[in-house]
Amino acid sequence: MKRAQIKKRKSIIPGFGLSMGITVAMLSLLILIPLASVLAYSFRLSGAEFAELMMRPNVVQAFVTSIGCALAAAVLNCIFGTILAWVLVRYEFPGKRLMDGMIELPFALPTAVAGITLTKMYSDTGAIGRAFEKLGIEIAYTRTGIIIAMVFIGIPFVVRAIQPVLEKLPATYEEAAGMLGASRLTIFWKVIFPEIRPALLTGFGLALARGIGEYGSVIYISGNSEKNGTQVVSYVIMQKLNSGNVDYEGAAAIALVLLILSFVMLFAINFIQHIASRRTNV
């Protein structure tokens, strides 16, 4: 019965073949075939060469730096993102509209501009860097700097993921819980948090994925020093394309690992979300 319905539907609205053709053709030519070339290229290395490349200290360190900093930044973004979204949805205060409108600035601001600006701000001659330097804390050209850049580019993902959920969550829930005598913290953990958890997870995943692959905003503030462990994976790949001894195979191999990593992470997050949504639906 259902099958017949679907078949009938197919035939009513025109344009299936055409839109399928255009979609698949464009997707293949612009995205899939070029990505397949990366795959093909990385297979030019033998298994032993591949393993040797991946075990190189600078490659391992780059992965540790990229993943570690992206994780830290994503967690920070979840905390600040939740607060920002909450404040923007629930409270009224002067300048709120402006704040709401500017949340997406990190999307719109070119990453290179963000990169050089944050670097100058947080270096020991910059407005914020100078203050921290007096406290003995260096930010620019350390991993802390990388995390700050990743927080900057990741914050809109979390805020924009949570905001619509909070808007739909009626304040009566919290009021009811409050009247039943729940403390504010209990209300947050038991009433609000379960509601925003799937959205928070989405925001976390997007911010994390963006952070791990980020290039423009990170490479200036990181200082790219192998000694200090501030090279990120994107930088190591780019180096293999730029330096005098170009190493396409190596670049492709590292890129492949990065690709697989991103996919596994996205898959994991979708999976957790799937389980979480099933649990709440039952």
Binding site: I6, R9, I12, I13, P14, G15, F16, S19, M20, I22, T23, M26, L27, L30, I31, L32, I33, P34, S37, V38, A40, F80, I83, L84, V87, L88, Y91, G101, M102, I103, E104, F107, A108, L109, P110, T111, A112, V113, I116, T117, K120, M121, G126, I128, F152, I155, R184, A209, G213, Y215, G216, S234, I237, L241, Y248, A252, L258, L259, S262, F263
Partner: protein
């Protein structure tokens, strides 16, 4: 009771100094309980405003201040330098083409995904979103490996060039910059339209089709009015990302003054390292900041109008 009505700071102090600790603690507890909602509210707003000022507003001011560090004259000189103008041109070309291509794709793909049922639909949707989750550096790399000197598609391109007598290069050229820009912005428009079309459903299109309307008429008369604002919104996001793209373009563009975009020009100026060139880098940056702010304003207008139209 010890105190009634409003408790002033002096009263608090007196209570504390008189070593009426028990009463102090009790009163303080009452005060916190009664006002906890307000206190929490203003602490949270305080954190948000601080974050907002430090992370979002201060960087913008920093760009402007540094751009004008050497005075208006050198600011103007930096903006009208030959390399900057050439970079502006390449940036605009790449942005316009990327928005156009992705608009076509976004419309067709979202029509396909929301109006028809077919096998592998979920896989297709996931594939469309790939550019979101991968490093832009990989996008640049992918094109080098396809069309570059030792890329497998190089002979194909050479064959086409020979046959047509053209001289198209798909790496280290303006077309390469355009392709890389399209790659990183690929899902921007379809992603905005698909949710709108899902909520709209198919009934209207089906009715129109049954009454004999052609595909194009259905799209123009029925589907398009629903997605107008979503499309515009996606185009704005796409444009904003396109003119700011760095990593992907950096990999496939090597000729300053010819194939450089504005972000690449900023990188070159900044990396030159002298105080003058860094100021010039910020001067060029201020141009992009202006473009980014225009996009943000447009985005907010579209969002506002779109919401109003929904009602």
């Amino acid at each position: 009771m010890y105190l009634r009505g409003k408790v002033s700071a002096k009263d608090w102090g007196d209570m504390y100094l008189q070593e009426n600790h028990d009463i102090f603690v009790e009163k303080w507890g009452d005060f916190m309980k009664k006002n906890s909602q307000k206190i929490v509210k203003w602490i949270l707003i305080g954190i948000s405003v601080l974050f907002f000022l430090l992370m979002l507003v201060l960087p913008l001011l920093e760009v402007i201040v540094r751009a004008l560090a050497d005075g208006l004259q050198s600011y103007q000189a930096a903006l009208t330098a030959e390399n900057t103008l050439s970079a502006l041109k390449v940036t605009l070309i790449a942005t316009v083409i990327a928005v156009a291509v992705n608009t076509v794709f976004g419309l067709v793909a979202s029509w396909l995904v929301t109006k028809f049922d077919f096998r592998g639909k979920n896989v297709l949707s996931a594939l469309i979103d790939i550019p979101f989750s991968i490093s832009p550096v990989i996008a640049g790399l992918a094109y080098i490996m396809t069309f570059g000197r030792s890329g497998w598609a190089k002979p194909v391109i050479d064959g086409i060039n020979e046959a047509l007598g053209t001289d198209i290069a798909l790496v280290f050229s303006v077309p390469a910059v355009v392709l890389a820009t399209i790659f990183v912005t690929f899902p921007f428009i379809s992603r905005e339209i698909i949710p709108v079309l899902y909520t709209q459903g198919r009934e209207e299109e089906e009715a129109a089709a049954m009454m004999g309307a052609s595909g194009f008429t259905i799209f123009r008369k029925i589907t398009f009015p629903h997605i107008r604002w979503g499309l515009l919104y996606g185009m704005i996001l796409c444009a904003a990302r396109a003119f700011g793209e760095f990593g992907a373009v950096y990999a496939v563009s090597k000729a300053r003054g010819k194939t450089f975009t504005l972000p690449l020009e900023i990188d070159a100026l900044y990396m030159a390292g002298s105080a003058d060139s860094i100021t010039q880098a910020f001067a060029v940056s201020s141009l992009l900041v202006g473009m980014a702010l225009i996009m943000l304003i447009l985005k907010n207008i579209v969002e506002y109008r779109g919401k109003r139209n929904d009602r």
